[in-house]
């Protein structure tokens, strides 16, 4: 932050990725979104969170819920981890290189989260949208906690986040999650197996132990934050029916019957 350094470099104006190169002058630039002092009650909109470990079926359910809500006339916006404009790609790079400590990585995820919260979620809620979050702060808290970062530290870090209207936890056994992950990709990824934690060189055991640890953190979080636990072992249609029932009650939708469009039938099993 030393003002006497790096002036030339930062002064060189290049369009950022995805930008058109237009620099808003400071006089016309909008003030930052006021996360500080936001009153959640004045936002309108509905924030629905779907949590669960890798292979719990989260993304599948989000796709189906989006279609169902849109068919009911609700505008939907989704969010997920590492999707911010600010640092989403940087985190991908850090994960690939594995050169960073758990705390730094945790803080980069926090930056990613708050960037999306301020630039996407809050504006969407202000416009009365339904925001479906494919993971939220609870995953980030659980991952940090199993790596030995204090729970109170993590809760303090995410203290400025909005409390969701509904939080679903798709609870699955690690062994089931393992099966499902192998259907999606031919090999287990470094992070899903928790290999940074040096639990075991046997990657099956490493995966099971790591996901088991995350699951126990979730059991604690579920009690603390009153999650709605959903049995993730049930088939996709059954889990989806349960989610629709709860969301319909919250949004006062009378009809909860739903058949996916042909485009989504491949995940309806």
């Amino acid at each position: 932050m030393s003002p006497r350094k790096g002036n030339k470099k930062n002064g060189a104006r290049r369009p950022g990725p995805g930008g058109n190169g237009a620099q808003p002058s400071p006089e016309t630039a909008a003030p930052p979104p006021p996360l500080l002092g936001v009153k959640a009650s004045e936002l309108g909109g509905t924030l629905i969170v779907v949590e669960g470990t890798d292979g719990s079926g989260r993304s599948t359910q989000i796709s189906l819920l989006t279609e169902w809500l849109e068919s009911e006339g609700f505008a939907v916006q989704t969010m997920g981890l590492r999707r911010s404009n600010l640092v989403g790609k940087d985190i991908d790079g850090l994960l690939a290189r594995n050169a960073v400590t758990r705390l730094t990585l945790g803080l980069m995820y926090a930056t990613d989260f708050y960037d999306q919260l301020e630039h996407n979620i809050i504006p969407a809620l202000r416009s009365g949208l339904v925001v479906l979050a494919d993971r939220y702060i609870y995953t980030l808290i659980a991952r940090g906690a199993v790596r030995g970062i204090g729970r109170d530290y993590l809760h303090g870090l995410y203290q400025l986040a909005l409390i969701p209207d509904l939080t679903f936890w798709l609870n699955v056994e690690p062994a089931v999650a393992f099966e499902r992950e192998f259907k999606k990709s031919p090999a287990i990824s470094f992070w899903e197996a928790g290999r940074d934690m040096s639990l075991s060189h046997n990657l099956y055991h490493s995966f099971i132990r790591y996901q088991g640890m995350v699951r126990r953190e979730f059991e604690y979080l579920a009690r603390k934050h009153a999650f709605t636990e959903v049995n993730g072992h049930a088939g996709v249609p059954a889990v989806n029916a349960e989610l629709r029932r709860q969301i319909a009650r919250h949004l006062k939708i009378r009809r909860t019957s739903y058949r996916p469009s042909p485009g989504l039938m491949h995940i309806w099993r």
Partner: protein, 247 residues
Amino acid sequence: MDETALLEAPEMEQPVAEAARARRVPRREYPGALIVVEGIDGSGKSTQLYLLKRWLEIGGYRIHFTEWNSSPLVKSATRRGKQRKLLTPVTFSLLHAADFADRCERQILPLLHGGSLVLADRYIYTAFARDGARGCPERWLRNLYRFAPVPDVTFYFRAPREIAVNRILSGRPRLKYYEAGMDLNLAFDRAESFRLFQGLIMEQYDRMVVTDNFVQMDGTVPVNTLQKQMREIVRKRVDLKRFLPAS
């Protein structure tokens, strides 16, 4: 939406002042020592730390120097955020915390555990002052940096705002957007915004003199006189013998 926007964290209920008081005594779980300089731009802190460093180097002490500067880790994100003005007070703060965490865990802590005397040009108090001036809640900030070791001595260089600001403004015509605090909408003119922003930062620093046990230094005193005072305090507060090579 729920009425309360804050997550409950009962573990953090104790007031900040109390937490700060609890931090005052450095936890010596390492053989090294940490000396920090803080103050607004133009307060003379970097010059003084440089002179202290030279004195210790010439004396043959085992020292390392670190500064509050972006590491390659977050450089691209910081640059992108600044150029496109994506940064809010919260994300600005978090990016710098991520950067500092990297420096802390990979540089400062290993050096302290290895028994070095570490000199830091700006430390977590820079974040408390600057992000506090931007409106980040103090309790949130204090928690964010809880992982940082407490310095053995923190020098706070204080010069009247006008003197400090003029030292900067007379030398450099172009101030950067965030550096000038333009995101706070204090003034349309960058120099004026910078002036006001530095004043807000100074208010934050002044409050930390007591809570964080700062050693206040008068930045208007001649350089060599001030350096003499600084060396005297370091000699008194830090057992320098420990940092001489075992011969």
